[in-house]
Assembly symmetry: C2
Homo-oligomer: 415 residues x 2
């Protein structure tokens, strides 16, 4: 990708009403555009980050048997009435609209009800289970406050997954698999050491739900954290009884601000009972299905990573989700541009993703933009580096660059 | 993908209110699920087809310099007021909803207004142009009637692209490039010979818009078609004057039913004027940007292909968008399953996408399902084929299968 072709530009200004660090950085770097409060567009570089995150999550959900699908955004009142989640007093973040015939439709904020209803067409026997399905889907939630940049938005991409199991044991086994898969996702994205498995408030069926909470000063949640056990308790359920139950000691806990990057929830058989999803077991007895639901806010995850690693110069992306592997800068001069053009072709042919700054701006401007964009590796070509027989390589967080030879550059970058 | 693991099943029944051929076939084959009239979910096999179509379109839009982004679904009233497209009397397919503070938001049915407004942040000089951006985005349209299966829905995935040019000439040149790119898309999907460049009604700025219309008995549009010139005129603009203008002769035209798979539209400078998108030209004079908009209904395209190629046994996918390259059937018997398992691994390792029917059903049931699913190649392993030293290969549309040897199978399939 040549910066001379990319339509976005870095900017010093951000919208006056924008207070969050992640949105300020992402807007300045041209990754996102603010449409209105809590509603953002994802511009080419931002979409690349999202797609990298989506690719990692997809891998790990497929690895535990998840089958990807795409449910509709428009939803039927009837289904949510059955579970008593249609009323705005019960669920206060619905966006609703009306069909031309006057009947109301809901705009998807979650999908348990439609998923369970859809699966009634495919589940009748114990042989049809277990099933795990997931999607990456745009959720709409009518939040009263939306001030956290892309950490809390009215419209966001969510990976939502649903497991249907025959027994409590089968459900529990899958639940543990999902926990492992989530840790793998966060590890690949580089935040697992800052992300804690957290006990939070449950629902009708279970005492707890579980969250994955990442340490972040601007996070909306507060947890009590046992760093040795890598476990946390959300403030909302914190009590002496809960600590005793979980085997945690108050004295060993740190109170920390965190941002929720994932949550998992056990609905037991309640949804299946309300919506009529049953199967015949081995003895031909009707049983209700156990439902689990497993979310990761893809856009929020991007915001958490942006905020977590940023420094005073701009964004710092982990290699696994950076919009490119290398940021190639050619200092002005036809010889430099010629060498850079050749290297750009070579790297691209070697499947290295390159942002190539071919704009011929001043070194200061181009270096500042490279820092703001946050690509993990920066390669500079100048008359001096060419005279020395190579290019200047620097990681985003190092202050000193080193010279690498023309011949070894592709090997070094690919490593 | 093992059919024993896939949660969808083929079905004989479809919803009683479903009248369209494409939806009936896609529901029976488990590609889609009907949520309500005009609203469908895309199940794993259906999502695979969609993603193949998206991949082809993305390739071709990138090839003409398109930059992919993702705009929000929630839209601001203010922008559409400026262009007089907010009023339900002017645009009768809006879904609207309300924020908690009572202000109305629109749900995206198109994106010209937000795209132009967003680009005001990045365009100030002639050096910033031309720009072409596109997205794959879920559009919501409050259609009064929605009876064509996935040909006309209230929610659908659209590739919408927008070009911003400095002059009428630059606009026209890009418009022609987009037409070529569209033909390449339809060619790769296998429908270009049935798809015609069509003159349709224009807007305030131009006499005509242009459509890509595919011959289809159940299509909603009617065109007058010159097969030699590969040109058509939409019934809505058909007149002697128009024919004279386009150099067409009435006697050489065939009246045909068609389905619109793409449309392109020239807004001239009207949107830029209404929304205030200007740039400074080489003489430092303020000019308004020329806007073009280019749509392909991804989900509709899938429906058109489904309907166009289907036979009385079920779906028939072109190789380029089939959910898998090969449908592998192992007839019951441990020897067959063992050989099939090995072949499944080999094909998968060779990057051949395989649907593997490992269910051990009767040959009749598995063959009928293979026909209904419509994968281009069917491979059968039975005791007889193994005794003859190989497997039985048949294309979806051939009636006779031929024996291929174990050693040559991967080469043959990859071809």
């Amino acid at each position: 990708m040549r910066l001379s072709q990319l339509f976005t530009r870095t900017a010093h200004q951000v919208p006056a009403d924008e207070q969050s660090l992640n949105a300020k950085l992402l807007i300045r770097a041209g990754y996102i555009h603010k449409e209105m409060a809590g509603i953002y567009d994802f511009l080419p570089l931002g979409l690349r980050v999202l797609n990298k995150i989506i690719g990692i999550i997809r891998d790990e959900m497929n690895a535990i048997g998840g089958q990807e699908l795409q449910m509709s955004s428009l939803q039927r009142e009837e289904l949510w009435q059955k579970t008593d989640r249609w009323d705005d007093k019960k669920v206060d973040i619905w966006f609703k609209s009306k069909l031309q015939n006057g009947s109301e439709v809901g705009l998807a904020w979650s999908h348990e009800e439609p998923i369970v209803d859809m699966l009634k067409n495919f589940v009748s026997s114990y042989r049809d289970l277990p099933i795990c399905v997931y999607q990456f889907q745009t959720k709409l939630r009518n939040e009263i406050r939306a001030k956290g940049g892309i950490l809390r938005t009215r419209e966001f991409i969510m990976k939502d997954m649903y497991s249907l199991s025959r027994t409590a044991e089968e459900h529990e086994a899958f639940y543990q698999q999902a926990i492992e898969a989530y840790h793998k996702v966060f590890k690949r994205i580089g935040i697992d050491d800052k992300t804690f498995f957290t006990f939070a408030s449950g629902g009708a069926f279970t005492q707890f739900s579980h969250e994955f909470q990442t340490l972040l000063d601007t996070g909306e949640d507060t947890v009590f954290l046992d760093r040795n056990k890598k476990m946390a308790v959300n403030e909302e359920v914190m009590s002496d009884e809960v600590l005793a139950q979980l085997g945690l000691e108050k004295a060993k806990l740190d109170k920390e601000r965190v941002a929720e990057v994932g949550n998992i929830f056990n609905f037991g058989i309640t949804k299946a009972e309300q919506l009529g999803l049953q199967f015949s077991d081995e003895s031909d007895q009707k049983q209700s299905v156990f439902l689990g639901s497993y979310g990761i806010g893809v856009t929020r995850l991007m915001g958490v990573v942006a905020e977590l690693f940023a420094d005073d110069k701009g964004l710092v992306w982990p290699q696994s989700i950076a919009p490119a592997h290398v940021h190639l800068v050619a200092l002005p001069g036809s010889q430099n541009l010629q060498a850079a053009e050749k290297l750009y072709q070579q790297l691209t042919a070697a499947a290295v993703e390159v942002i190539y700054d071919d704009r011929g701006e001043s070194a200061g401007k181009m270096f500042a933009d490279a820092d703001l964009l946050g690509i993990p590796l920066r390669l500079v070509i100048s008359e001096k580096t060419l005279a020395d027989g190579g290019f200047e390589l620097k990681t985003r967080t190092e202050s000193e660059a080193k010279l690498v030879s023309k011949n070894s550059i592709i090997d070094i970058v690919k490593r």
